[in-house]
């Protein structure tokens, strides 16, 4: 075997190996940017980011609730964007909004949209769900800005 061939094989192999590594990194990089672009495209109009939250949402005046905001308790400041699916609140892992509240039940309450209006429903909790001081016993429509209280946590719907 001529020496030159072995030398070429030796260095050529290393070069190829590193090209492979950088190709992999390139694939990951493309992945990363594809993700970033789509999340900007999709998420921004929903009003999750601070830039959109700052904008006055005057397109639809008042009526439709778009966010569930935690106003008091351990999770205060948290926002959940409302869609068309129900939101469950409780301590169980599979709830949409998982609270750490000691006074909340595993599956405490849920918010269900019906014809553009959100209804609050208690799911048999131990300590009850309150809508502006009144205990919720049957599905109750929730107006915007009225506090919902579960244990020590309070929420309200905002547009």
């Amino acid at each position: 075997m001529p020496e030159i061939v072995l030398t070429v094989a030796r260095y050529g192999f290393l070069v190829l190996l590193w090209i492979f590594v950088f190709t992999v990194v390139g694939v990951i990089r493309r992945d990363l940017f594809a993700g970033a672009r789509s999340s900007r495209l999709v998420a921004a109009p929903r009003g999750i980011g601070p830039t959109v939250a700052g904008k006055p949402a005057k397109v639809k005046r008042g009526r439709a609730a778009r966010q569930l905001v935690v106003t008091g308790g351990a999770l205060a400041g948290t926002r959940i964007t409302l869609g068309e699916s129900p939101i469950t609140i409780g301590r169980a892992e599979d709830c949409t909004l998982v609270t750490t509240d000691d006074y909340a039940s595993a599956r405490h309450a849920r918010l269900v949209p019906r014809d553009g209006q959100w209804y609050l429903e208690d799911m048999g909790s131990t300590n009850g769900t309150y809508l502006d001081r009144a205990k919720v016993s049957a599905p109750t429509p929730v107006p915007l800005g009225v506090p919902i209280r579960i244990g020590r946590t309070s929420f309200e719907l905002r547009s």
Binding site: A9, R10, L16, V24, V42, G83, T100
Partner: protein, 511 residues
């Protein structure tokens, strides 16, 4: 690792606008996987060809048989993954295939060197390389079967207690077996069936234990992360919450004592501590874990010097590590040869097939990294390590992307375990830490390790598939009834699931 309480919507979060673009993208990712896989096969083939040409003295086609068999196995696996996990990470399979291929071809190169005359005409499944090829076939089949059975990683959490118990039993079996059934090279980690076939149950146990750890910590993390005392600017847990970590610490020390293997013991303990850290986001757990482990290892070392007995093996290994050249022809022989091989390799290595791996003891398993290092040099080894790093990174990425806490912990733990194993063995052969009998994942000869690590990769693929699936909500399966017809809107609300842990201190970052 300070994940915000509300994770930013991951790439899968899909709304009305991006629907059209998405399917093509996931298809493109599978093609990227195919391309990378082909590239990896070219590299493996190039390595095999160069090594064989250097050994036999002329170019020969002996390597083509194993190469085609190996590539065939992986391409079939790739096609099945297209169907079983269409959105899975495109990098994992090619990266693992590359390392596995190097392992097979390096072992084959050992066979060729051992029999230089007829070397190149070894049959496809003959010799160590052929054996490894068969194990690869079995391991990849195992991975495909695992992907086919586990359609949703969360279903594993249902068997958490069963798997945890099975894991502990598997870990303990070698300790109770008589030494002639369980000891290889001083480590009591094996179950031997006859003289030619041995399995290492601990390799499988690590995955099972991880399922249990993840399940347990998802349920307990609130207690473990919220109740704490502040000391020196770090939140430390209360005394009574230390129970689980102390239990696992004692168990891993028992592994160290009764199975005489630091690496395995470090592995289980590290796995638990890191899952705990991911679950609670508390640095204090890492500090506690490190202090406990170092303290335990040091005590074992001192005890080994004083009374010997079960600690003697560890004491000996630590001494070799402290001064390998004290007895270069006796106890330090293995490590000294390994260091010499790495030194001979230098920056660019001697070239494939030009090194002298036959000088290295147990080069086919424990010291395969040093054996390859002699031939591909620091540049090649660094590339291999980067490939390992990328595998681990993709695992952690899947953990970040997936939406349920169990999946996050499980994927994070799996990825970390793989990284830790590489660290333990590479650190061992390069004399950074005391040498232990861990296998180099995917690279070294050994069926159990290969099968278990391919299973691990299958689970990572499953989780990354769930994490990257376009937002039809099925990756989360939460939030009450499925959407009744209509366009899928914010069905992926669970994306915004709030993680209880650390929510209280992180209010500032949130809004």
């Amino acid at each position: 690792m300070t994940a915000p309480a509300i994770p930013a919507p991951p790439p899968i979060n899909q709304g009305d606008g991006a629907t059209a673009a998405r399917p093509s993208r996931s298809g493109g990712r599978r093609n990227a996987e195919l391309g990378l896989l082909a590239f990896a096969m070219v590299l493996v083939g190039g390595y095999a060809a160069a090594a064989e040409a250097a050994l036999v003295g002329h170019f020969s086609f002996g390597f083509l048989g194993p190469l085609i068999a190996f590539a065939g196995i992986l391409f079939v696996a790739h096609l099945l993954f297209r169907w079983l996990a269409p959105h899975a990470d495109p990098v994992l399979l090619p990266a693992v295939a590359l390392i596995n291929g190097f392992g097979v071809m390096f072992l084959r190169r050992l066979d060729v060197a051992a029999d230089a005359q007829s070397g190149a005409s070894i049959s496809i499944f003959g010799g160590q390389g052929g054996r490894q090829l068969m194990w690869t076939l079995l391991a990849v089949t195992g991975a495909v079967v695992a992907l086919a059975i586990v359609r949703d990683h969360r279903s594993l959490s249902r068997y958490a207690y069963t798997l945890g118990l099975a894991g502990i039993v598997l870990v303990m079996i070698p300790a109770f077996l008589p030494a002639r059934f369980s000891t290889i090279n001083g480590a009591k980690l094996w179950i031997k069936f006859g003289s030619f076939f041995a399995i290492q149950p601990g390799e499988f146990a690590k995955i099972m234990l991880l399922v249990y750890f993840a399940y347990y910590l998802v349920r307990k993390r609130e207690v473990l992360s919220l109740a704490s005392k502040r000391f020196l600017g770090i939140d430390f847990p209360r005394g009574r919450d230390l129970g689980p970590v102390v239990t696992v610490w004692l168990l891993s020390l028992m592994v160290l004592i009764f199975e005489k293997d630091l690496g395995t013991s470090l592995m289980y303990f590290g796995m638990f501590v890191v899952t705990l850290y991911i679950a609670t986001e508390r640095v204090s757990w890492l500090i506690i874990g490190l202090v406990l482990f170092l303290g335990g290892a040091y005590t074992a070392y001192v005890l080994g010097g004083l009374i010997g007995g079960p600690f003697a093996n560890f004491h000996l290994r630590a001494n070799i590590w402290l001064d390998p050249f004290a007895d270069p022809h006796g106890q330090g022989y293995q490590l000294v040869q390994s260091l010499l091989a790495l030194g001979t390799g230098g920056m660019f290595g001697a070239g494939p097939g030009v090194g002298r791996p036959d000088m290295l003891p147990v080069v086919e398993s424990d010291f395969i990294f040093a054996g390859m290092g002699e031939e591909i040099g620091l540049f090649g080894l660094a590339a291999l390590l980067v490939v390992y790093l990328l595998i681990v990174e993709r695992g952690l990425r899947a953990a970040i992307g997936v939406r349920d806490s169990f999946g996050k912990l499980f994927a994070g733990g799996l990825a970390f375990t793989l990284g830790l194993q590489v660290f333990v063995i590479v650190g061992g052969v390069s004399s950074l830490i005391p040498l232990t009998g861990q296998t180099t994942p995917f690279l070294s000869a050994g069926g159990s390790s290969l099968v278990a690590n391919w299973l691990l990769v299958a689970l990572l693929l499953r989780i990354s598939d769930a994490a990257r699936r376009p937002g039809d909500g099925s990756g989360s399966g939460r939030g009450g009834a499925p959407a009744s017809g209509g366009p899928v809107k914010l069905q992926e609300l669970p994306t915004e699931m709030i993680h209880a842990s650390g929510a209280s201190q992180r209010d500032g970052e949130k809004s």
